[in-house]
């Protein structure tokens, strides 16, 4: 499978009469873009706001992030979600680099939503503070979930996906610079050269979020809800090219946004080492479950596939913490038991005091782990000049790292606009997808 990516670096995003990309400046005709957003009548109110790195802006509640993309040959960008179900991961895809489309609630937040600060100390906590964020700030008529802590956030998330494709389409008739073209290609596993075959073979095992039994909250693969899913072998290009869509459930710092899937740094690293130090076999896509038997079943499937594919090693990663740690350790042990040397990639929950057990299940066989953060680290941040969305959502709406009141700490949102929260609510903050420059240390 061969995927060509044509990248268009974005230096700034502005509004103008005509949607156009020139010399790194992306101009968006706001009315045209909002018309795409409003194709869904459930969107009752919408605006687009730009937030650039270094600006004194705080964005909350953030529900999703997407890199603007466009399939040049007319294929599906997000199959089974806003486009028809067809294979992705091959052909030519254009991408606008250095920016992302954010789905932001105009008022209402939910458990899995997060916060991004574009400058100051808070900017350290999210990868997205480094990007130019095209914020779709919207409200909907989804009354059934308005006051629910768990929200599907369907209208806003899908609108953001349409907006990402609209913005991607701005470069449809352009040709990317030679230096901005990338090729992702893996030969079929049985057709690789001896030189490649002689290298240690490695699979990447991803445990995507799928704990909600009701449809509409989980990650989607080709539009399929991953709660009703058993582990499957996937080509890494499918993941880089829109086959995986982020969900709306997990505490935010542990989440993988759609932007994370599209840019998965672990996949890029494995590609980089392919043919040099490893033979990158591909991705075993797995899930996270709410029954011990389901967890065991998934681990059995994963270990069998890894073994049958001839994997010598695996990198195993989970989109979550707490109960998902049981899936993670179960799978880690299953892989080690069939002789696949495994490295885990996860965050921890050691509590505000740092003294809690880092994962809810432990096993001596999980002897190689890269750790990306502590979900319950307590963070205090000063007020920001501008808030995009609604600051009160952090305290009022049950975000995983915020609270309406606390005997010792008071509410998460103070009168002067300063905030106190757990790392849990930093937007995709622990960057388990592979970006995290954070680790854990003993104090």
């Amino acid at each position: 499978m061969r995927l060509e990516m044509g990248n268009f670096p974005v230096k700034d995003v502005i509004f103008g009469d005509k949607s156009v990309y020139q010399d790194g400046i992306l101009t968006i005709n706001k009315e045209e873009a909002l018309a795409v957003v409003r194709e869904d009548e459930h969107i009752t109110d919408a605006d687009i706001v730009i937030a650039r790195p270094g600006e004194k802006k705080r964005i909350v509640p953030v529900k999703e992030a997407i890199e603007p993309r466009y399939k040049v040959d007319g294929g599906s960008n997000f199959p089974g979600v806003i486009d028809k179900v067809e294979r992705v991961g091959e052909g030519l895809t254009y991408a606008l680099k250095g920016c992302s489309v954010l789905a932001v609630g105009k008022h209402w937040g939910s458990f899995g939503d997060g916060l991004i600060d574009m400058s100051g100390e808070g900017a350290n906590y999210s990868y997205f503070s480094k990007l130019i964020n095209i914020c779709l700030v919207a409200d909907t008529d989804e009354e059934f979930e308005r006051y629910e802590q768990q929200k599907k956030n369907r209208a806003i998330r899908w609108a953001a996906h349409r907006l990402a494709v609209y913005i991607g389409s701005i470069v449809r008739d352009l040709t990317p610079e030679q230096e901005n073209q990338e090729v992702f290609e893996l030969e079929p596993i049985t057709r690789r050269s001896k030189a490649v075959n002689d290298l240690p073979s490695v699979v990447y095992v991803m445990q995507a979020q799928s704990q909600m039994e009701e449809i509409g909250y989980n990650d989607l693969v080709y539009g399929w809800d991953m709660n009703k899913f058993v582990p499957t072998f996937m080509h890494p290009n499918e993941i880089l090219d829109g086959a995986l869509i982020s969900g709306s459930f997990m505490p935010c710092s542990s989440k993988w946004s759609t932007y994370d899937f599209q840019n998965a740094p672990m996949i890029r690293k494995l590609y980089q080492e392919h043919g040099k130090s490893i033979n990158f076999l591909g991705v075993i896509m797995s899930n996270l479950n709410v029954q011990l038997e389901q967890k065991k079943r998934s681990a059995i499937f994963v270990a069998q596939m890894a073994k049958s594919l001839g994997a010598d090693g695996a990198i195993l990663t989970e989109e979550g913490y707490g109960n998902p740690d049981a899936d993670f350790i179960e799978c880690f042990v299953a892989l080690e038991d069939v002789g696949v040397k495994t490295v885990g990639l996860t965050n921890e929950c050691t509590g505000r005091d740092g003294q809690s057990q880092p994962l809810v299940t432990l096993d001596e066989k999980a002897n190689a782990i890269v750790s990306t953060g502590n979900v319950s680290e307590l963070i205090k941040l000063p007020p920001m000049e501008t808030v995009i969305g609604e600051l009160q959502a952090l305290a009022r709406d049950g975000l995983s790292g915020g609270w309406a009141d606390d005997e010792k700490l008071g509410p998460s949102v103070k009168e002067d606009g300063s905030i106190i929260l757990e790392n849990n609510s930093m937007f995709c903050g622990d960057q388990i997808i592979g970006w995290s420059p954070k680790m854990m240390k003993e104090f």
């Binding site: 458990f111 350290n124 802590q149 768990q150 240690p200 490695v202 039994e213 009701e214 505490p251 740094p265 672990m266 890029r268 690293k269 080492e273 490893i278 709410v290 090693g313 990198i315 707490g322 040397k341 490295v343 990639l345 921890e348 929950c349 050691t350 509590g351 005091d353 740092g354 003294q355 809690s356 057990q357 880092p358 994962l359 432990l362 999980a366 002897n367 190689a368 782990i369 890269v370 750790s371 990306t372 502590n374 319950s376 680290e377 049950g398 995983s400 757990e422 849990n424 960057q431 388990i432 592979g434 970006w435 995290s436 420059p437 954070k438 680790m439 854990m440 240390k441 003993e442 104090f443």
Partner: protein, 350 residues
């Protein structure tokens, strides 16, 4: 100038060896034994030396701690140093016991030093800063210097590094830090995997800690006379959540009367629901007995299989809840359970 206090045993105070190990606690407003050295090295004045026999501390711990805390009640000090205790086991224990007590009572930093073989290390490394020290008093100067350098850092209000940066024994306290080299997790994972594949040494960023063991409780002698309580971490509460228990990272718990109630009514009936944000609430909201099995336990009560069900069920939320908070809430619940004659508990989790 900031003020410090040093704790030493009878031997280092020059009072005597094994024969004087029963020496009762004493405080002197002067520099005794190693206090002179500490005073030279420290950017603070060592105002008092506390002396206590190791055996006295070992066999009369409660009394000794009470006396020493009494000595300190009216004294101002910024830091407390204990030892160094080298490889002396009873001295290490004494430094740990008093260090922990002083830290808890006065909330001042406590620093000590012990040889890795000293049993005091494992007993107290979580409670106070302990540096790895030499085997015997021959290392007094080196060990005291290490204590003093770290203590000076604390006194200057400097940002303290991790256990490995500073050199003290790890305490099981893990916090998030930003790597100076900013190396992303993807590269770290790749490098670790290559080493593991080649059979080379690597360092896991999450060493698996030893698993806690809990003493096994004796069985209930006669269930038909026993009072059984229901406790849950599944977040089942009256629909208005009167105790405002948090739906994640809980610090609060509640107990709710179920006297004469055959089964828990559901959310729609305005009775009970779950506020736990870590799982799909639909099944628990429709029938809370799926999480707190009152209906089934009531049936056993009617059959006479158990004596009776305790008048309250106890509840909190177990998602993101830290071990420290969970342990505190558990202890608080146990106090009620004990006082109200509960013999056994069925604890359900989600």
């Amino acid at each position: 100038m900031k003020k410090a206090i040093l704790y030493i045993n009878q031997f280092f105070a020059g009072i005597g060896g094994e024969d004087k190990a029963d020496y009762t606690p004493e405080i002197r407003a002067e520099l005794v034994g190693p206090a002179m050295l500490l005073n030279q090295l420290l950017d603070a004045e060592v105002t008092h030396t506390i002396i206590c026999g190791d055996n006295y501390m070992g066999s009369n711990e409660e009394e000794a701690v009470k006396t020493i805390l009494g000595f300190l009640a009216d004294i101002e000090f910024d830091i407390f140093i204990a030892g160094p205790a080298f490889q002396a086991g009873r001295y290490g224990n004494a430094c740990g016991v008093i260090g922990k007590a002083v830290k808890e009572k006065f909330n001042v930093p406590v620093v000590s030093s012990m040889n890795p073989e000293n049993p005091g290390v494992d007993m107290f490394k979580k409670d106070i800063y302990i540096f790895p020290g030499g085997k015997s008093a021959a290392k007094m100067r080196t060990d005291m210097k290490q204590i003093a350098e770290f203590a000076n850092k604390i006194l200057r209000g400097e940002r303290l590094g991790s256990a490995s940066d500073e050199g003290y024994y790890v305490r099981g306290i893990r916090h998030m830090v930003w790597r100076e080299d900013e190396q992303p997790a993807s590269e770290r994972a790749m490098a670790m995997l290559l080493k593991k594949l080649k059979g080379e040494e690597f360092v896991s960023e999450l060493p698996i800690p030893k698993i806690d063991r809990v003493p096994v409780a004796a069985p209930v002698a006669d269930l038909s006379k026993a009072t059984i309580a229901l406790v849950t971490s599944g977040g089942i509460v009256p629909v208005d959540n009167p105790d405002r228990i948090q739906s994640a990272s809980a610090t609060r718990w509640g107990r709710y009367n179920i006297e004469g109630v055959d089964k828990l009514g559901n959310r729609e009936e305005g009775q009970f629901k779950t506020i736990h944000a870590g799982y799909d609430p639909a099944a628990a909201d429709t029938n809370p007995n799926r999480v707190v099995p009152l209906d089934a336990l009531r049936a056993y009560e009617k059959e006479g299989r158990i004596g009776k069900i305790h008048e309250y069920f106890y509840t909190t939320v177990g998602t993101g809840t830290t071990e420290a908070e969970a342990a505190r809430m558990g202890k608080e619940m146990v106090e009620y359970l004990h006082n109200e004659g509960v013999d056994a508990v069925i604890l359900t989790s989600t």
